[in-house]
Symmetry: C2
Subunit: 329 residues, 2 copies
DNA sequence: ATAATATTTGTAATCGTTTACAATTTATTT
DNA sequence: AAATAAATTGTAAACGATTACAAATATTAT
């Protein structure tokens, strides 16, 4: 493998000049620039990244810590982050923390070891409540999950409003006993719960909410229980895609069709929500955009460490389908 | 940040001893080992990875190049690879090549720049036919896609056999005009097509196969066309999950239910195949296991560069659901 | 033409480890 | 107890770039 000194020799210049050309720095004449470029080409020279990273103390790497890449929401986020990162010649280290605060801490430690330029984090609730940017030697952008008063760059959905609109939609369609099954351990679940509660209260209805661990199994169990309760709820709403899947499976098992005797709605416009007859009403999240906004924000922060803290809030879009058709209509 | 020399001073030993202890090398007395460990603890010393990588010429990083992480198949693969990699204190660089040979080449080049320890690759057809291990300065394990005569470590499904079994199942259920829609640009699509053709021929049936780009849209278009053709096929079979989704959407749109007037089956046991009434018959791939086997193989290869070339073939499992219920039964 | 300034170039130190090799200490054999 | 072998330790040279800083050259102003 050719090294920088080989290039320097070939081009008849010093290693400093080669380095400057490679880095695209100013202050090098067009003549030498061309000679260096020719030499680079001739020798097929590629700078050694390890050496560069050691000396320059920059890794051009960012960390992405999510609960599980298999969650389609995070799959899409990760794709967006990687797209933008590679466009900026940065690398991404992806970590699955499995909703486990200890793993989260472990991976954040790893980020320190890797000397990353920045981190995008979707924190568990315990990590979120304790979160202080100053605890980390790198900038952090929160994505998807964030408290009202967390002092950190963040990109999130308008969770409270979206849940409000979803609930109001069900009410408007004539449903009254609306049960809300939500992930109690997550910030988003709680915020969406808040939107649900507000909507129900505004319309003078009693709430019927059930917090569960955010897994398909837990949601299925909760829905099975609700399916056996009397009086039966009119409608079931889920705070995210995983839970919605659990509800759908449970209703199917209990042979309860929707919208009659029970309507169904939830978060996340996954491919199957369109396929399951007669289609499931959902709040669609602009997932790719959320990821893109997160990495954009992080890159900005890396470039300007002192800029003021930013929060990007994106709007969820209600997609009405058959599962919430007008009651008795 | 504490450096190795600080630790050495604190422990009253040389930097070499510290390095040896950190690397877990033999040939250091228990006494100094303990002193070093104490000093490390006291100073919260973490070795600088950039320096270590420069000097040792090892990055403990592996590359994973797939078409698109949003394909649930690759999502699962990537999760498996990351799980095992982190267990071995290795990092993963994930790349989405979007079925584009040029991007693939680009990313393989990037892997060289990163000086990775090895790569797991799911190649496009053009890359596969040209593939020679010796073209790369790192070991490569192919996953999902591999030719009969490619001389490289690989982990794949028994594509031909699985497609044969899926087709035979439809035949056994009484279907005769079975159309096979497959990804013509991929190695797996072609192999599965081969299994389909063999099964049809064995049973003295005429084939009705349609190769398409492996996208939901292309599959939908192909299925719409088939749905308008006369005589109508008895059954539609898809060579992968994306195509199966396209077929399902097209049938839905054409208001054709399954299994009557048209049966449906395909590859990949995605969550929605269970939910769409009356359930879709599929070949389930042991996806996580495939990923795990790939990284296991790669780690072995890294440890023993000269060991003989290995191929791991895993069996697909037929899951019978309502979409292929006995005809007229 | 000279001085002052701006631009371009080169030299050499530096980033923080690992590791070859030599030196030392400890254990074993005679 | 001396000689030999084995185990442990330390010294210093890498690894291959970047980047202060100084030196050289080119440009502009007087």
């Amino acid at each position: 493998m050719a090294q920088i000194k080989d290039v320097a020799k070939q081009a008849g210049v010093s290693v400093a000049s080669v380095s400057r050309v490679m880095a695209g720095h100013a202050g090098v004449s067009e003549a030498t620039r061309q000679r260096v470029l020719d030499a680079v080409q001739a020798l097929d020279y590629r700078p050694d990244l390890a050496a560069r990273r050691l000396r320059s103390r920059r890794t051009d790497t960012i960390g992405l810590i999510v609960s599980d890449i298999r969650n389609p929401f995070f799959t899409e986020i990760s794709r967006a982050v990687e797209d933008v990162a590679y466009q900026h010649r940065m690398r991404v280290i992806l970590c699955n923390a499995d909703e486990d605060p200890e793993k989260e801490a472990l991976y954040l430690d790893l980020m320190r070891d890797e000397n990353v330029s920045g981190v995008i984090l979707s924190p568990t609730l315990p990590t979120l409540v304790r979160f202080r940017s100053s605890d980390y030697p790198f900038p952090v952008v929160l994505v998807d999950r964030c408290d009202r008063d967390t002092a950190a760059d963040a990109v999130v959905l308008d969770n409270v409003d979206s849940a409000y609109r979803l609930t109001a939609h069900l009410i408007e369609r004539g449903y009254r006993r609306i049960a809300f099954i939500y992930g109690v351990t997550s910030a988003t679940g709680r915020q969406r719960h808040e939107g649900y509660v507000t909507a129900m209260a505004t319309h003078g209805l009693e709430t019927l909410a059930k917090g569960v661990p955010a897994t398909v199994e837990a949601a299925r169990a909760a829905a099975s229980e609700l399916a056996r309760s009397r009086p039966l709820p009119d409608a079931l709403a889920a705070s995210n895609g995983l839970i919605l899947l659990g509800l759908t499976e449970a209703l199917r098992e209990a042979k309860l069709r929707f919208p009659q005797p029970i309507a169904l709605a939830g978060f996340d416009d996954l491919p199957w929500t369109r396929l399951v007859e007669p289609g499931i009403t959902v709040i669609a999240q602009p997932t790719y955009d959320l990821g893109q906004a997160a990495i954009d924000l992080l890159l900005q922060r890396i470039a300007h460490p002192a800029q003021s803290v930013r929060r990007v809030v994106m709007r969820g879009e209600l997609i009405e389908r058959g599962s919430s058709a007008k009651r008795g209509g």
